[in-house]
Structure formats: C-alpha cells, structure tokens
C-alpha cells in the first residue's frame, strides 16, 4: 500500500498503464468496501439474528400489540408526585446529593406490567413504580421498581425467550403450554424465582405494596469506597392481603383505590438500602441476598398528588434505571444495560406516535377533588 501512496509526483506524469490504473481503482474500491463492511458489521446488518433493543421491543409488540403513544411494557399507569425526605443515613455509603439530609422533589408513575394500556386490573399483573428524584444541582436519579421480591429472569435473553414463548397461539388464544414448559425446563432459575415470588403474600393495593429495585448497584461515597446495594421501598400504609375472592371487580380497581387513597392522605414509603457483602451476587436478580444484610432506612418518600397520563409529567419520562447521579453506579448485572437500551427504544417509539387518551382519564383522577 505504502508504495502506491508514496508514488512520486511528477510534473510530466507518465500515463499509467491500463493494467495499473485498473489495479489502483480496484484497490480504492476494495478499501471503500472494507470500510463500509466494517461499518455494516458494527451496525449489526450482518447479524440479523442477534437480540437487539429493537427486536426486544418488537417482541413486546407482538405479544401485546402496538398501542400508539404508550409504553411497550408497563403500559397502564398513572402519574404521581411528591417529595423524598432524606434523613442523611445514606451519606455514609453514597456521595449522591439525594442522601444528604433534606428534601428532594419526586415525580413518579404507578403501573401494571404488560403492554396493554387498557388491561383490566388484576392480581396477576406485576405492580410497578417508576421514580425520578430531582437533585438540587440538576442531577437526576431514576429507578423503576416492582412488587416482586426477585426478578424471574437472570438475563435479557431469558426474558426475551419467555416473551416469545408467551405469545398467544392464534388457534387457542393461549400461549402454547408445551413451548412454555420446554422453556422452563431450560431455566431452572426461573422456576426457583417463581417459587420465591409465590411465597410472598400479595398486598391488596399499590399503597401497601413493597417495591423492589431488584437489580444490584454500587454506592460510592466521598472517600471513593464502594459497596454493592439493592434498594426497597417499604410501605408505611398497613399491610392487607389481596382478597382471593374472584368477584367481578371494577376494571381499574387498583388504580381507583390508589387515586382515592392519595386524595384522602399522602402515601408514604421508607427507602431502605440493603447493603451487600462481598460474594453476594450482583449479577443475578433472580436470587435474593441472604437474610441479615444491613438494611439502612435512608428516608421517607411521600406521594401526595396523582395525575392521569394525559397531563402527568411522568408520561414523557423514560424511567431508565441507569439514569444515575454521581455516587450511584451500575453493577455487573446484565439486565441493567439491556433495560437502558430497550427502554430507550420503547421511549423513542412512543414519543414519535400521536398520543391517545389514557384509559384512566383525568376525570377518573379528579373525581375525589
């Protein structure tokens, strides 16, 4: 190559022979094709079967349909807002301003899992709470938590395969039981996690549910030392078990109850940091850490306002779990980067679509005002 590049510059350039001209043109062509090929390879065009954020999002859409303007998962929800009052106990572990003693405004969103915004509330659906803490210096902390004690899937691939297996069969309208069973046989950790989940009593509503961050993170304090952490929001509303009676209930009974409760009085949760020990798995959200880990109560979350999605500030927020302030860092949990990537894809799709009115309307939300 260098002999070509260093070809002497001649005043009276001898014409190149046809053969050399063709060879050099071919060389240029090859160089450009190699560059374009490398670019195509990096962009995934040469690996159409890789699991990408777009294909993951497509899978949600295949299972639950496309509901323009809505989240591809946790589609049904309402916005909330309030304040987090930090007691300063977290500052020992993390330099993040959210753990200094003081108050930080919070915007959040309660949701039910699944991609259908108008699904009937039910005990089976996973309850979600997305939160954004607006730190004083413009930093932001976002977290999206659910009411399960462990996550059923260790890897994004396992979650994806489960989604694919759960797609209803067009003939029966139900997922193919053989496909689901075959999938579970390959993933004993899911069966184990499901047992843990079934062993936890289900609370009657959003207000008395415990919300788990599930993924591990690292807290970094002002001296630079770091500890593994998981966080939990424990309700200050008394626990009451969900009724087992399968009586026909209001389609929005969970959300309606939440709305009525917030209108009566602010709802409160304690934010608990569970500090991990060396050796506790940080890469596996399907297993709980051993009991007896230090649990630090770092403050109280108070939610005193609820808004329908049509008007809530939370609607156009992506509760990406890797939007973190300095002092909270990701762990090696493979779900984290995958969540960030897929949430971004879901967010980009829904923000580009015309917004439909939310099934829980502003009138529903303001009935109690």
């Amino acid at each position: 190559m260098s002999t070509y590049l260093e070809a002497p510059v001649e005043t009276e350039r001898r014409p190149l022979s046809i053969a050399i001209t063709v060879a050099r043109l071919a060389l240029i062509g090859v160089a450009l094709v190699v560059v374009a090929g490398a670019f195509a390879y990096l962009g995934g065009w040469l690996s159409p079967n890789n699991l990408t954020p777009a294909r993951f999002t497509d899978a949600f859409e295949r299972v639950d349909g496309v509901h323009a303007g809505f989240r591809r998962n946790h589609a049904k929800g309402v916005g909330v807002s309030g304040v987090f009052e930090s007691n300063g106990n977290g500052a020992r572990f993390s330099k993040a301003a959210v753990f200094h003693p003081g108050r930080v405004p919070v915007v959040g969103r309660f949701s039910l899992s699944g991609g259908q915004p108008d699904v009937a509330d039910g005990a089976d659906a996973v309850r979600g709470l997305g939160l954004q803490f607006n730190l004083p210096d413009g930093e932001v902390w976002r977290t999206a938590m659910i009411n399960l004690p462990v996550f059923p899937f260790r890897t994004p691939e396992a979650f994806y395969q489960r989604l694919v297996a759960s797609k209803p069969d067009p003939n029966t309208g139900k997922p193919d039981p053989a496909a689901v069973q075959a999938f579970l046989d390959r993933h004993p950790e899911i069966v184990q996690a499901m047992n843990v989940i079934k062993g936890q009593p289900l609370a009657s509503g959003f207000d008395n549910s415990t919300f788990h961050g599930l993924n591990a993170f690292r807290l970094v304090n002002s001296t630079g030392s770091s500890v593994p952490v998981r966080w939990v929001l424990t309700p200050m509303q008394p626990f009451e078990a969900a009724s087992t009676a399968s009586s026909v209930q209001d389609k929005n009974y969970l959300f309606d109850a939440l709305i009525a409760q917030i209108h009566r009085q602010p709802l409160r949760w304690q934010l608990i940091l569970v500090i991990g020990q060396p050796g506790d798995p940080t890469h596996d959200a399907t297993v709980a850490w051993p009991a007896g880990r230090e649990r630090v109560d770092v403050g109280t979350l108070t939610l005193d306002r609820v808004d329908a999605e049509d008007t809530s500030a939370a609607t156009d927020i992506n509760f990406d779990p890797l939007v973190l302030p300095a002092g909270i860092a990701p762990s090696d949990d493979p779900l984290l980067s995958a969540r960030s990537a897929v949430y971004s894809q879901s967010f980009t799709r829904r923000e580009g679509e015309a917004k439909q009115p939310s099934p829980i309307t502003p009138a529903d939300v303001h009935r109690g005002d």
């Binding site: 070509y4 590049l5 070809a7 510059v9 001649e10 005043t11 350039r13 190149l16 001209t21 050099r24 043109l25 060389l27 240029i28 160089a31 450009l32 560059v35 374009a36 490398a38 670019f39 990096l42 962009g43 995934g44 890789n50 699991l51 990408t52 954020p53 777009a54 993951f56 210096d137 413009g138 930093e139 932001v140 994004p156 156009d316 927020i317 992506n318 990406d320 890797l322 939007v323 302030p325 300095a326 990701p330 493979p334 984290l336 980067s337 995958a338 960030s340 990537a341 897929v342 971004s344 967010f347 980009t348 923000e351 580009g352 917004k355």
Partner: protein, 174 residues
C-alpha cells in the same frame, strides 16, 4: 516538481485528531443502538466524545480562518473544486450540527446530559415529545449522511493520490 504546499501543522493536527474521533463516534453510534450488553458503556462514551467534537469543530473553524488551506492543485477542474469545497463544507456542517442535534434531542427528552460523574450540560430545548422524536430521527439520518460523505471524501483523496497522482494526500499527511 515543487512539492505540494501542505496544510499548516495545526490544521493537520486538528484534521487527524477529529477524523479519528468522528470515525469512533460513527462506529460507537451504530454499534450501541444494536447492543444490549454494551449499550450503557458505549452511550456513556458517545455523549462526552460528541461534545468534544462540537468544541473542536469551533476551534477548527476559527483555525481555518486564521490558517487558510493551501491553494488546491492545478490538476483539479472547476467541478472538482466545487465538489471538494462542498464536501468539506458538509463535513464542517455535520461536525457542528450532529452533536448539537444529539444534545438537543436529549434536552427535549429531559435525559440528564451527563458527561462524567456529576458533570452535566444544561438543556438547550424545551421538554417536548415530538421534538425529541424528530431530532432523534434527524440524528440517525445525519449520521448516515456523514458516513457517506466520509466515504466520498476518502474515495476522492485516494483517487487523486493513486490515479491523478497530484500528491493530495501529502497536503494533509501528518
């Protein structure tokens, strides 16, 4: 024949530094949006590196005013000169607009625009879903356009160097 005039040293330094940066940015960009595992790490590099390009292109523009490029080789026709100037202009434009669109789209979506640790940029646009969606699409289209312009640029330089043999590469060689 007298050696081709070369670009001033500062211009050459800026050209090659930024060429490497832009290429890395294009590669990171297309790779991160198809990755689950590396998405976060890549996007965390993509933001500050893109902003660095934004700063450097301003420096480079000022430098070009102070240190104008040497005259183009006499071998170039009018049309070629026009094409060369247009593609250089396009690349300057893209080095400026692409990072601005990146910054703008994250502003419109109200993502904190973290460069490193607690260092983050202010928002340059209002919170607006449609604005985000449009800019996000524009970011992709402009990035691909940049890649095509880059290919044309390299193709033209190689053509001049290997076929026309007017020593064009030497003008910019480090």
């Amino acid at each position: 024949m007298p050696a081709q005039p070369r670009f001033p040293a500062v211009s050459r330094l800026l050209h090659w530094t930024m060429a490497v940066m832009v290429l890395i940015m294009l590669c990171i960009g297309v790779a991160m949006v198809v990755s689950l595992g590396d998405y976060h790490a890549l996007v965390s590099i993509h933001r500050p590196l893109g902003i660095a390009i934004l700063i450097l292109v301003v420096v480079r523009f000022v430098n070009r005013l102070i240190n104008p490029p040497p005259p183009l080789p006499a071998t170039m026709s009018r049309a070629e000169r026009l094409a060369a100037t247009a593609s250089e202009l396009a690349m300057y434009g893209l080095m400026l607009v692409l990072p601005l669109v990146g910054w703008g789209m994250l502003s419109a979506a109200r993502y904190p625009i973290v460069l490193h640790g607690s260092v983050h940029l202010p928002f340059i646009l209002p919170h607006n879903a449609v604005l985000y969606a449009v800019l996000r699409k524009a970011h992709t289209i402009l990035a691909y356009l940049f890649f095509l312009t880059f290919m044309a640029h390299v193709g033209a330089i190689l053509f001049h160097t290997l076929i026309v043999r007017d020593g064009m590469l030497r003008r910019m060689a480090p």
